[in-house]
Amino acid sequence: MSALDSKAEMERRPGGYRMHLMLCAGTGCVSSGSYKIKEALEHELARHDLTKEVAVVMTGCNGFCAQGPVMVVMPDEIFYQRLSVKDVPHLVEEHMLKGRPVEKLMYTPPAEKTVVPKMSEIGFFGKQRLLALRNRGLIDPEVIDEYIARDGYKALARALSKMKPEDVVKEMTASGLRGRGGGGFPTGVKWKTCREAPGKPKYVVCNADEGDPGAYMDRSIIEGDPHSVLEGMVIAAYAVGSSKGYIYIRHEYPLALERLEKAIEDAREYGLLGKNIFNTGFDFDVSIHRGAGAFVCGESTALMASMEGRPGEPRAKYIHTVEHGLWDRPTNLNNVETYANVPLIILRGAEWFTSIGTGDVSENPWGGSKGTKVFSLVGKVHNTGLVEVPMGITLKEIVFDIGGGIPKGKKFKAVQTGGPSGGVIPEDLLDLPVDFDQLTKVGSMMGSGGMIVMDETDCMVDIARYFIDFLIGESCGKCLPCREGLTQISALLNDICNGEAKEDTIELLEELSNTVKECSLCALGGSAPNPVLSTLRYFRDEYEAHVRDKKCPAGVCKALITYSIDPEKCTGCMICKKNCPQNAIFGEKKKAHTIQTDLCIKCGICRDMCTYDAVVVR
């Protein structure tokens, strides 16, 4: 962050402070101790009664990592470098109280030698804030000591030595952390129920059966920082009173599995798993259970059935797994990202955690969405990748600032969140703050964090069909509404895409979707029609164009489109003609070409090949 950015940041935070201390919270400075400096600063400021005049603000990286921890004092624009806790009392007294900058700690940033931007200036990184991914790209995931060097297992030590299990549960409830697997159930409430449930032994399970198309948050967390998940699980086990845990991980994640196995082995050797952890008398160990690739096994009851060796089919959930779960015992099931957040909350406290995010969770754990969420940002955006953002950031910021907007000058159409169970969100809702409740309100859901961006060339009916067909393949077949209903929904969608729909097809589709939603046994079926219902809600005109006008406005549904060549734009370069697999394009060199419609199979090769944008799809 440059001095100018600091100024802008300061102006965004009025509140009558005469001075702002902009302390770097880049990963570099954090590892050299900037949070310790923050505590020391706050302590000293309070001692001098300056807390109403001077604010401490944590900022993004300012690119002077080698001099870290660095701090910029605004509005004076004075840089301090390599601060240590013992410098702080003198610094606060001299500069903040008496107004005399401390020269020996000052630093003059060198004149910019290069034009390489700073991480905080790159749109993709600038708006991210790393909690669950705090160690990404920084540690070797196969070296347990590197995790420990970044405060790893410190939270576990604190929980086991200084907190009662009830205190851990209380801290989690106060933090407002909600399940990152998609359900958004408050983690602390779940732990409390599990702790109080009668029956022994109790189990702690980690759901790493990440199945949404385009989503890979959990894989990346396990691959990049497996110990953060293990530490979270041990803390959970202590809180609920369990001594045995399982990680249910997809078979399709070989690298994640390899690193997890190594992590478990190392943690056992250090005695961080096993008997008498940290000599506190607490026992806990973890085994890995590999899933066989069924989407429905991400659902809690199906997951547990599969672990018991039965077919991965859900059961009705009026009996909660937290009371009657694995082998009918109380079972605490959380997702990978949820566990990765746990050590931070124990170490930094619930109060810190609740300073990030939306709403108020002090009375009601459902009252807001706290912390961050990791999304895998994919589809029609410039920058695809894994992004972790504070709750409450707008969709627009994610798609345009972080994602860098839509490639090839195309127009944004919608963003799909929540995977097959989620829904689409159209352009006029781009200012929506992203949190559990807002997304649900507009007919989508947080889900596990897949975020697929779509542009004007994506047909919404076709998208709905894609997700429904995915879910037909993944439906376990136990209950009729999901098994048969989805097949019928798919048939209706096919009719619409093929131009064979009748006037009442849309109504029938809507009715059927609502029936499946209401009558299915588990969450998979209950949310399966969401892609249809949400596209209908926001893009009904597109459905109507298919049915009434027999047109696909996005130019996707083959039965409803024709390819032609714009004679004005065509230069007669012959490229399309040479590449047409059907030999359906006619014309001479340097003269406008034509497509013979009855030969054309609408494969789109000519459009992809044409450099003059002359192939028209209508």
Partner: protein, 127 residues
């Protein structure tokens, strides 16, 4: 490895920080190759072996080569981070072996950042 007591965490942490930190004398340069599934599928293993052979050829003994997970920016893999002592780390993206050779010769050995391959300097905001 012995079983840990709570006091051991601080000791391991300090030792490991020294081993990882250039400022604490771990070396002059640290090269991190980002090897998540995304990086590996984009060719990070090749980049890794190329880094190793560059280091070997140069005969330098003050270069630390290490791996890490995905750095988040999956569409720009393979990616490495080069950190020279007393300087902010630099992230290089969209790498191939040819680009890597140049980065090694110019940046790692002579200290000149190759602007056209670099994405950014500095680090991300944590916590």
């Amino acid at each position: 490895m012995p079983r840990l007591k709570i006091e051991d965490l601080e000791r391991i942490s300090e030792q490991q920080k020294k081993a990882m930190s250039l400022r604490a004398g771990a070396g002059r340069v640290k090269i991190t190759v980002h090897m998540g599934t995304c990086g590996i599928s984009a060719g990070a293993r090749k980049i890794m072996s190329q880094v190793m052979s560059c280091v070997e050829k140069s005969g330098a003994s003050d270069i630390i080569v290490t791996t890490s997970g995905c750095a988040g920016f999956c569409s720009r893999e393979p990616m490495i981070t080069v950190e020279i002592i007393e300087q902010a780390p630099v992230k290089y993206v969209d790498l191939d072996e040819k680009k890597l050779n140049r980065i090694f010769e110019e940046h790692v050995m002579k200290g000149n950042i190759i602007e056209e391959y670099a994405l950014a300097v500095g680090s991300e905001r944590a916590l």
